[in-house]
Amino acid sequence: MPDEPVRIDADVHAPRPSVTDLTPHLEPHWPEYLKWTGFRPKAGERLYPEWTGLSTGTASEAANASFRATLDTQVFDRCALAVVSTYFGVESVLHPYLAPDLASAVNRWLATEYLDTDDRLRGSAMVAPQFADSAAAEVARVATDSRFVQIQVPARSMEPYGNHRYWDLWEAVSSHDLTVGITYGGSVTIPGNAINWMDTFFEQYSAGTQPFATHITSLVLNGVFERWPNLRFAFVDTGWTWLPGLLWRLDKEWKEGRQEVPWVRRPPSEYVAEHMRFTTTPTDAPTDPRHLQLILRQLPCADMLMYSSDLPRAGGSGIEAITAGLTVEEQDRVLGGNAAQLYRLTRERVPS
């Protein structure tokens, strides 16, 4: 692809592997244990319950084939590369040896099932962030496979991601110059909103941006980006129109309270502009398309967004509503340039 600007889909979702799929990738004692305990990836199954029509489903020969066909017709018809992830809910596993091993097995499965079979896919490797030392070891392992461009953690977590309990993990990600992807949802022992457990999918989903906002505030105010200037975060599958409102408040709070966090040397929105990117699907869009263009201009810089299809879901408004008001150069960045920069997908790494 000599002159064409690169097009990248920053977020497609492979079906969830079954326990059987993972068996070849686990130490021999685990399959027996999983069978004995009747283990099922419940958190994975409940992220988007089947009834919502938004579930990615469980892997099978047919499901994998169907996903590949969808990629051909709805992703690679326009994009040269796509970042593929799956979800297993490893953050919900309290067992300190099982959770990291499950994460590693899922990553091995993703490599075998998808990265080995399609050179247009780049991998998002999951880790169990609740065990940061083990997660750091998994980062070092997947970093030897250059097809993995992202380390994936769920939005729901026991502490905000700027907290020191995660610093071993960020150290590893930084030293291998990878990107962290924070993805929608997750299952942990505290609720994912600022009050308490909620009953319905609608509530859980509507409040689903709260962990993301919490992490942005925490990462910046803990000085994570002063400590690791190359650390980068993708905010995946969470929408982005809520970002300006958060940053208006965060900048204001920093102005009033920055004596408490002297290591934060600049307004928080500047760190966000330099270190964070957001996928375009879903977009929680206003009914008036002019308002969407205003929100775009309220973002802290013109490079905040990365095109994503979110396949096999397509929950958001079309990308056209976003690109309509952008210059051609800005469009190129949203449709691929920003992702290429974030994921270090230099031209040599794009298959022709």
Partner: protein, 373 residues
């Protein structure tokens, strides 16, 4: 005193409603002051304190000088405890026509349920009437209730609401369960029965976690996160069908900031649309439920890098009849009425509505009540 009363009458007599401040904090001069209003059987419990082992003893670092304005400390007692200083620094200085008071820091530090919770709430309400509302007609009161005890809260609302100088019911936003839960229905029902709005104010130690993902390390971080419980309560109240059950209930989101609301409305609307008949039926589109039942106070006002973006946000919200001025006196992030939302930015009509017109509609009952008191 005479001079103050004359000024208050002059403000009330002016055409229009004058400046109404929805969020002002009075305070006890000392803990002993509340005991005058608290039956003696509860004094020992009050002295011992409550909430041992609760999250209220966590340390988040500290804001400068606590949460107060440096110049708001009277000769004795905490900021907000000296009526004359409050008149000088707020009512007289800015010609405030009505200020709605609530001692939120004190009320969230006592038991929030049971007979003892009810006794504290009643003591605060009687103290409010006696020490504040009786002494200056420009003061209106917020009703304290035992938040986590719906039946007793409703009982106290019914008792106090007979005094029309009480203009709202105050809940701290961080309740133990989301507000759509049935345990809070008696409060919604009593609010509706008495024609009083419910305010959600910053504070409370009830919630399981005060953010979307655990506890903050710093005060500045925790303070930023205070927008989140408001959004969660909106989601819960909308989803629960509470407004079908209590169609006249009005909720004030007080000190919650505003910038998070547009995207939340769009997200709820999208979820509602995508899920369609696969989710429990709502009587209306979520954003329309918000626009019919929620009000938002202005402080802390969002500060976009380009000031015009604030106006863009107001346009997107399309709730210009539902914004209410608040100063948060005597807290350090006080917004001065003569500087916030200048007409040059938001227009004269919008400013007039926010600074008093909208509030006059919402708390009409209290305005009539205080004029005749």
């Amino acid at each position: 005193m005479t001079q103050v009363t004359e000024r208050a009458s002059a403000a009330a007599a002016r055409p229009g409603v004058g400046l109404i401040d929805l969020d002002v904090h009075n305070a006890l001069t000392s803990a002993a002051e509340l005991k005058k209003y608290l039956p003696s059987r509860w004094h020992r419990a009050y002295d011992e304190g409550s909430g041992i082992g609760s999250a209220r003893w966590m340390q988040f670092g500290a804001a400068r000088l606590g949460v107060f304005r440096g110049d708001a400390w009277p000769a004795s007692g905490p900021p907000g405890s000296d009526l004359d200083l409050m008149r000088e620094q707020l009512l007289d200085r800015y010609n405030v026509s009505r200020a709605v008071l609530h001692p939120v820091l004190e009320t969230m530090s006592v038991s929030l349920d049971g007979d003892v919770g009810l006794a504290y709430a009643a003591a605060f309400n009687d103290w409010m009437a006696d020490r504040w509302l009786d002494r200056d007609p420009r003061f209106l009161g917020g009703i304290t209730v035992p938040i986590e005890d719906g039946e007793r809260a409703a009982k106290e609302i019914d008792r106090v609401a007979a005094d029309h100088r009480f203009a709202k019911i105050v809940l701290t936003v961080a309740t133990r369960e989301p507000l759509g839960a049935p345990r809070y229905w008696p409060i919604l029902e009593a609010a509706e029965r008495n024609g009083l709005p419910i305010t959600l104010h910053v504070g409370g130690y009830g919630s399981a976690t005060p953010s979307g993902a655990g506890w903050a390390s710093f005060h500045v971080e925790a303070h930023t996160n205070w927008a989140l419980p408001y959004a969660a309560q909106v989601v819960s109240l909308v989803a629960s069908g509470a407004f079908d059950r209590f169609p006249n209930v009005q909720i004030i989101l007080e000190e919650g900031s505003l910038g998070w609301m547009p995207a939340l409305m769009w997200r709820m609307d999208r979820a509602h649309q995508v899920l369609g008949d696969r989710m429990a039926e709502l009587s209306n589109v979520p954003s329309e439920i918000v626009r019919k039942h929620f009000w938002m106070t202005t402080q802390p006002l969002d500060e976009p890098p380009v000031r015009g973006q604030l106006v863009e946000m107001f346009d997107m919200l399309d709730m210009s009849d539902r914004f209410l001025f608040s100063s948060d006196y005597p807290h350090h992030d006080f917004d001065a009425p003569d500087r916030v939302l200048p007409a040059s930015l938001v227009g004269q009509e919008f400013r007039a509505k926010v600074m008093g017109g909208n509030a006059a509609t919402l708390i009409a009952r209290a305005l009539g009540g205080s004029a005749s008191a």
